[in-house]
Subunit: 307 residues, 2 copies
């Protein structure tokens, strides 16, 4: 068969599939699905995907779904290691360069983590060096944002989040609200570098790619406040070599902060009794005001809730 | 922020991710993953994917994995309705136009279906009109292929495969071998049109796209024989209107066969006692000899078996 005939035969498949989305229930759905078809078909053609490779791909995605549960989200991890999470964040980034930059959400957020007051402790027994985290939440115009909700979560110094431990313990996560001056402050543990979960299909991908599963030390922060764009970000620990090869491409220079070591016995902001050295970090958060483009919402459902 | 700065920022993410695959364990793995990164990133940029749409995509793929089990394979169904299965088949098609054409594998094949002798019945109680299926397996040079293995599977006249019924019954599937002259013959039921499973995420996709879940009536046939390219195909029933809008784009003219109705009481090839009308179809199978390109196998593992 001529290669021209072969190309025509492949294009015929793609045309048929594109046409099948002509009756989509919304223009946005049609736009996304047609683009998905064009780009995914281009991939198959370009690499001349074999049937065995196709089977491996099906199997890989199936395993990603099946290893996921309420404590593990392998598809987010896949999106993260392919840079799709960071790219989506970049594509939706606030246009105001003075706002705090976003980074990956990651797979370890848990809804309903407990509230802590100003000066409270989110560690709740998570192992690690005590760390005082404080700062101010403000808008890009400099005005303090009172009552902003900060969700914070982090791994212990063994590199594990609470949900990666056996049992139902909640450690290293919580939420709090900024005060009248936008101020916030809480105790946690000093973040340490850790590998993303690599005992599943995404770990296999990294191994086949010769890539490290390590992430640099970081604290997750998500901030929501009425009238502002939701911010999902990290505070990274200055001086951490793992920032160069972050498995999920999440590092941004502007998010690297000094976690300053304080000697044992030095006074601390809440008069807490501490046995050894501790750290403190100042991490101000600048929110971008909400804009009309935030309203552009899209995918219609067919889909049911809670499935 | 200027759109130029924005584009540069997005390209920076893509470059970083592409570089991360430079140390892949095989050149083929690198080739596929780099192409996956380029095309998937191009998709996100082109449609300006929102964070909410990204979440819906993650959720969709997770549900596809989770609804899959040893009786249901939603990721294959997804590949089918996006035309990726047919495109992969087209890309790997034999170069010899006289060979029987391939079509989709589908999600309902089950390993280990029972062997039936020449003239045996694969229906095993599946509801439907009895149908005699016979033909010859030969190579593209016309020589008969003895001892070819035919795996055949089909839905009952309620549109369901055995694995879609409760319980562990095996009906409408089996395997048999061609005789010295390449001949084969077995009883099944006359195929009827049916909807692909549309109570899961793929059904939601079709609903949002305004697409029908129907497939035209067909019998699945997979043929393997030493020295020949494996053939995965269907016999479609002539005169079926559903051939125009096949949900999985599987129809090829050359695979449409006459399932000829025979009156009640007419003699049948095995002297089987039948109560009413039955059908018969002749479906010859022409296999393509194996070529060196079949050897091009690729994705290294990292991956464990049986996960």
């Amino acid at each position: 068969m001529s290669s021209e005939h072969q190309a025509e035969r492949e294009e015929h498949v793609t045309r048929q599939v594109l046409e099948s989305f002509a009756g989509s229930t919304t223009p946005r759905y049609r736009e996304i699905m047609e683009a998905l078809v064009r780009h995914s078909h281009a991939l198959v053609r370009e690499v001349r995907l074999t049937e065995q490779e196709w089977e491996q791909g099906i199997d890989f995605l199936t395993r990603c779904g099946q290893i996921s549960d309420d404590r593990r989200q392998e598809l987010i991890l896949l999106s993260d290691v392919l840079g799709l999470s960071m790219l989506t964040i970049a594509a939706n980034a606030p246009e105001e360069p003075t706002a705090t930059e976003s980074t990956v959400f990651g797979p370890f957020f848990v809804d309903g983590a407990p509230e802590v007051p100003f000066g409270g402790d989110i560690a709740q027994g998570a192992s690690g060096q005590p760390c005082w985290v404080s700062g101010q939440v403000r808008g890009t115009d400099g005005s303090p944002v009172a009552g902003a909700r900060l969700d914070v979560w982090e791994a212990d110094d063994g590199g594990l989040y609470d949900v990666q431990h056996e049992g139902d313990v909640t450690q290293g996560r919580g939420h709090l609200f900024s005060d009248e001056q936008g101020g916030y402050g809480f105790w946690g543990v000093t973040p340490t570098p850790y590998p993303i979960p690599h005992d599943g299909p995404v770990g296999d991908l990294l191994a086949a790619a010769g890539r490290s599963p390590m992430r640099p030390a970081h604290l997750h922060v998500m901030v929501t406040a009425p009238g502002y764009h939701r911010l999902v970000t990290h505070a990274f620990v200055a001086g951490d070599d793992n920032q160069r090869g972050d498995a999920v491409f999440g590092v941004k220079e502007s998010l690297v902060a000094d976690f300053v070591e304080q000697p044992a016995g030095s006074p601390n902001p809440t008069g807490r009794r501490l046995d050894g050295a501790w750290r403190k970090v100042s991490f101000d958060i600048v929110l971008n005001p909400e804009t009309r483009t935030d309203e552009r919402r899209s995918i219609p459902s067919g889909r049911r809730e809670g499935a």
